[in-house]
Amino acid sequence: MAELQFREAIRAAIDEEMAQDEDIFVMGEEVAEYDGAYKVTEGLLDKYGSKRMIDTPISELGFAGIGVGAAMNGLRPIVEFMTFNFAVLAADQIINHASKAKYMTGGQVNVPIVFRGPNASAGQLSATHSVSYDAMYAHFPGLKVIYTSEPADAKGLLKSAIRDDNPVLFMESEQMYGLKGEVPEEDDFTIPIGKAKVKREGSDVTVVAHGKMYHVAKQAAQQLDKEGVDVEIIDPRTVKPLDIETIVKSIQKTNRCVIVDEAHPFGGLAAEVGYLIQREAFDYLDAPVQRVTLPDTNAPFAKNLFDEWLPSPDQVIDAINTVTYRK
């Protein structure tokens, strides 16, 4: 094990996979000579050269599509978006081409591509730079979507994503790149796509939280621990395919659930998980499922409004109090 920053864990995954497979290359804005906008790809240009570390112009649609075409024709691209907020410009290539080319051709092509980069908000950046896109892409068949919360998960799942022969979206967070954690160092360390993890065992309530929100949920759990509330936290890690079994198993034990999601409330992961829980665990519930999400507004800039906008540990505590009928 080694203590690595989140960005170092991602870099290690890319580095180890590139060392093993000549067909893997990285393309995106500032990934090579600038060493990565968030220093994720630092040093990889020196190691792998400009054939495999490709700086692109600011043309998300174009380079995402070139990535898809290259994947169809036998390469394994890792396409970095400076943030998934900019990947909206490339949505046609992700949604209409990467996810559909295999199906439309009756299986004649595979698209082994990874689209990765930070997702959701990163402080006061106002409306266009603060959106969480994991559930939106998860809506579309043909895509796998991962949004991890800790360095070890990031490394293991990114390696699986790179080895996967289907298109995978791998989401990170600007605010987590410096976060440290213990990470296995073996070259063959991977975590299977589609498996949730019980990150904190508890008996009173199940909290489902992924990505940055896992840390918000964790803070809430630590606070409530002092008050004698035993919180179990499930991190789905993979949004699609979703491991609902692990969530249901936890609810069978705790009988209560709160979902924390850094997305807007309508049609997001919280809505989907909530639906699945009522279908799969209705008889186990002692209280209606609660969710903590962004409000149905755009992200504001003003500090006080932004803090109000982003889900907080206090909101999670309130939701837990509601489902446990404590207050």
Partner: protein, 368 residues
Amino acid sequence: MADKKEKTEEVTFTPTGTGIRTNGEIIRSTELPDPTDKKHDELGLSDDDVIDMFEQMYLQRRFEERAMQMYQKGKFGGFLHLYMGQEAISTGTAYALNDDDDIITAYRDHGWGLVRGVSPKEGMAELYGKETGCSNGKGGSMHFANVEEHFWGGYGIVGGHIPLGGGIAFANKYKQNGRVTACFLGDGAVPQGVLHETMNMSQNWKLPCIYAVENNGYAMGTAVHRHSTGEIVDRADGFDMKKMVLNGMDVFTVYEKMKEIAADIRENSEPWFIEIRTYRYRGHSMSDPMKYRSKEELEEYEKLDPVERIKNYLLDEDIIDEDKVEEIKNGVEDKVMDAIEFAEESDYPEKEALYDHMFVEDDYPFHT
């Protein structure tokens, strides 16, 4: 405060009128560059090659004429975008390129499939949505593909396949396999931003790719002069890209120029942007009443029919006689009728096929 112009003129935006460039007035010489004056042997084509080209072009034509009839009879649904009038482009290109050079196109793709190994049976079955279709009935008219023979498919989002072509070329350069990619698009895709993003990267990265606009005069019902300013081919200038305009109604011209361009790309690994001027004889799709163009314009172009042109060449040069022409035509007709029979007798995909080809693995846990 500066003076403002008085509001005297009526405000207009999109130019009005019909006709591919001239508001209905047909000035053919400005539309179509001269065809090559070379004979087939000067181009390195044998008599048999020319006969094959004719047979291939006639197959594309007849396949679509019959497909149109079947569509009108309600034998299958979906969209049906016909290639009729443009067959010299698919045929000339396929003969000019190596068999392992890559071709990708938009949704007007039947001719491209047929010239790249999709059999009439597999093509017709795909139109019918049968499991024996070239894309197992998953793609339909807009998504013919034969990847084994380097035809990467037709794609239905206007412009969406352009960067895929760039990416296929990128992979070829990466692997240094010497293959050239030809990415075809309609004039209607020229104003899409993704073309310009892809051209910029392709020139900067020296991708071995031809971006070829099949300018058939209309983006659906909008004439070229109404949707794109200036000359299409001049888009290349902004990227310092090599360019050419060529006559797409003559298969020898397409063959000659594509061969030259492919050779240049193999030599220099640099992309080209070319505008192939052509004409589509049918509407954009089957539901198109074609009010945007005149009957006279259509008739002018029908005089230039590329299939008639190569047939007349064969006769004029005494390569084959009328009897042989009839024999070829009858052979093609038989193939197409067999294809219809095959499509009609083939099974629809099994219900379970709904979930096939979504993911590589067989055990993907689909959401319910």
